[in-house]
């Protein structure tokens, strides 16, 4: 005999009160767990892909395209961070250092062994993944803020090591590399071609994030994020999956780092220190780590905000701070959550179940 729900209908609120509260809840709720219909998802994906592919042809200028490339490779790194923070709940404020591992690995392979972009890429990504896993070992013992401090320390240590690495790491001056080895008919010295290279990598990162999100693996990670003890008691190997997701995140970071290296052609330790790491954390929180387009939105906002508002570096830092405070207060799930909630509200609240005990699908 199935049980009947006796607890529903206990709420004594008037229907108007319930509706107003539900509407409010719809706009501020964390809707990451509720999927949008396939049609909406497909249209969003196609529109975004068309916009990104058409970008170099819109005549927005060299400077705009440069910022766009920076935005996209940053976004790739952010997708790794989004995976570990948004899905598995492990935040890091040392993520730029992990990108730096990839970038420096590729640069050192180029300088010492003469390996090009394509041949050094797998090694750089693998090294980032391994380092990601090794820094992740403390997560098995400590969580939350404690782990965040450890990642911050790693970041500081990484910069110190690079600065004192002599000619091997180029010390404070850094290292230079050539351009991306051309593919038949494609010369990556041309800025728009470099843009398409980074864009292709972004599409890969997006696809991987989407597939992980809808897969059993994604659900396993979310279970760990939501309740580690319960996850263990249903048979999930929490420790293994925590290290695993940090390694996957390291793969993304390595890819982003190598793309950054071959776009800038020159890297130095300051690119991967505390400030860039904090910016990555800011971007992922601003955009919404749990949402497919959240990291991309965060990267776009932070990279283009000073350009659009014509801010100098000091003013833009103030603007970031204000933005982050506003997002934390008004949209705890990030801008991605806000956009999704508006979508859900437009489509009517009947599909999404948030708050209240009157949940009938």
């Amino acid at each position: 005999m199935p049980m009947t729900d006796n607890s529903a209908g206990k709420t004594g609120a008037t229907p108007e009160g319930v509706r107003a509260r539900d509407r409010l809840a719809l706009l501020t709720a964390d809707n990451a767990a509720v999927p949008l219909p396939a049609g909406v998802q497909a249209i969003t994906a196609i529109l975004l892909a068309v916009l990104l592919i058409a970008l170099p042809w819109l005549g927005l200028g060299y400077r705009f395209l440069s910022i766009a490339i920076t935005t996209l490779y940053t976004a790739i790194g952010l997708y790794g961070l989004g995976l570990q923070f948004g899905q598995a709940g492990i935040m890091s404020v040392g993520h730029a250092a992990l990108m730096g591992v990839g970038a420096y690995a590729s640069a050192i392979l180029s300088v010492q062994l003469g390996l090009g972009f394509w041949t050094s890429l797998p090694f750089a990504m693998a090294l980032s993944a391994i380092v990601g896993g090794v820094i992740g070992l403390p997560t098995l013992r400590v969580g939350g803020q404690h782990y965040i401090i450890i990642t911050f320390c790693f970041c500081a240590l990484f910069v110190i090591v690079l600065t004192n690495g002599g000619t091997f790491t180029g010390s404070a001056t850094g290292l230079d590399v050539g351009s991306v080895t051309p593919l038949p008919g494609i010369n990556f010295d041309k800025l728009s071609n470099n843009y398409y290279l980074v864009l292709a990598a972004l599409f890969l990162a997006l696809a991987a994030t989407y597939l992980i999100g809808i897969s059993r693996y994604g659900r396993t990670l979310r279970a760990i994020r939501e309740n580690e003890q319960l996850a263990r008691s249903v048979g999930i190997n929490v420790d293994l999956h925590k290290l695993g997701v940090l390694m996957v995140s390291g793969l993304f970071a390595g890819l982003a780092g190598v793309l950054q290296l071959y776009y800038l052609r020159h890297i130095s330790p300051t690119l991967f220190g505390a400030f860039p790491s904090l910016y990555l954390a800011l971007m992922v929180m601003l955009g919404g780590a749990r949402y497919l387009y959240g990291p991309l939105i965060g990267a776009v906002v932070v990279n283009f905000l000073p350009e659009v508002l014509n801010l100098d570096p000091v003013d833009s830092r103030i603007a970031y701070g204000v933005c982050l405070l506003l997002v934390i207060l008004l949209l705890p799930g990030g801008v991605g959550a806000g956009i999704k909630n508006i979508c859900c509200a437009i489509r009517g609240g009947s599909e999404t179940q948030v708050g209240g005990s009157n949940g009938r699908a």
Binding site: M1, M3, N6, V234, G235
Partner: protein, 242 residues
């Protein structure tokens, strides 16, 4: 040989002895109740058997294998599954996803459910599939806790106070679901304070006090035991069990 055999199980937290050499046999074809005053070691027993806390001494055998301290997730994969006293869920995920996570884990090596929907139907949560678990009312959250545990396709279910916080009709409905489990091959071992419900539901009662087993047997016999009455009611009172 019983499915679960606990031999001389000890657990110490610093100087506090929570379990002082417990022996217990539990089969998977019946409902066994564990009772005892607060602090008598009931939940600690579950925590040590299910691998949440390591044992200080003694052994736990499950289906003939030593599972002492092999880790909570490995024990769950052997289909010895527990629920928690505080109604637990994955609060930020939908009810569907909560059950699906457990079902996907239980499906390894062949589970008993062909879809997560079956489990939701069984516990009566099917209409709430798209609700975020954290916003469920307490009664439904308790049922979700049971659904998640059932999702792993357990052969023995350790239920830690499944009725706590439920009103009478909810508790009755819950008890009727629990009573259906042993005939389907899911053994139940439960902790609860509601003696009326426990004596109706359980085939056997085990009484713990200060980390030791002081009585075991059919409910009527155990509840008439003077030692049990003393633990529960104090030496002088003659009132009925709580």
């Amino acid at each position: 040989m019983a499915a679960l055999e606990v031999r001389g199980l000890r657990k110490q937290f610093g100087g506090v002895v929570a379990l002082n050499g417990i022996d217990l046999d539990i089969d998977t074809d019946r409902v066994v109740g564990i009772v005892g005053p607060n602090g008598s070691g009931k939940t600690t027993l579950f925590n040590v058997v299910s691998g949440v806390h390591p044992a200080t001494g003694g052994t736990v055998f499950w289906q003939g294998q030593d599972i002492t301290n092999i880790g909570a997730h490995r024990i769950a994969r052997k289909r010895l599954v527990r629920t928690f006293q505080q109604a637990m869920s994955f609060p930020g995920l939908t009810v569907d996803e909560n059950v699906r996570i457990a079902w996907e884990q239980g499906r390894r090596g062949g589970g008993r459910w062909t879809s997560p929907g079956m489990i939701l139907d069984f516990v009566g949560l099917a209409p709430l599939g798209r609700t975020i678990a954290g916003s469920l009312p307490f009664g439904s959250l308790r049922r979700l806790g049971l659904a998640v545990a059932l999702g792993v396709s357990p052969e023995l279910l350790l239920l830690d106070e499944p009725g706590a916080g439920l009103n009478d009709s909810e508790a009755q409905a819950f008890a009727s679901v629990i009573a259906q489990l042993p005939p389907q091959g899911i053994g139940v071992c439960l902790i609860d304070h509601d003696m009326d419900m426990m004596s109706d539901l359980c085939d056997r009662l085990v009484v713990l006090d200060f980390g030791t087993k002081i009585a075991e047997g059919p409910p009527s016999q155990v509840l008439a035991d003077p030692k049990v009455r003393e633990v529960y009611l104090g030496p002088d009172k003659k009132a009925a069990a709580p």
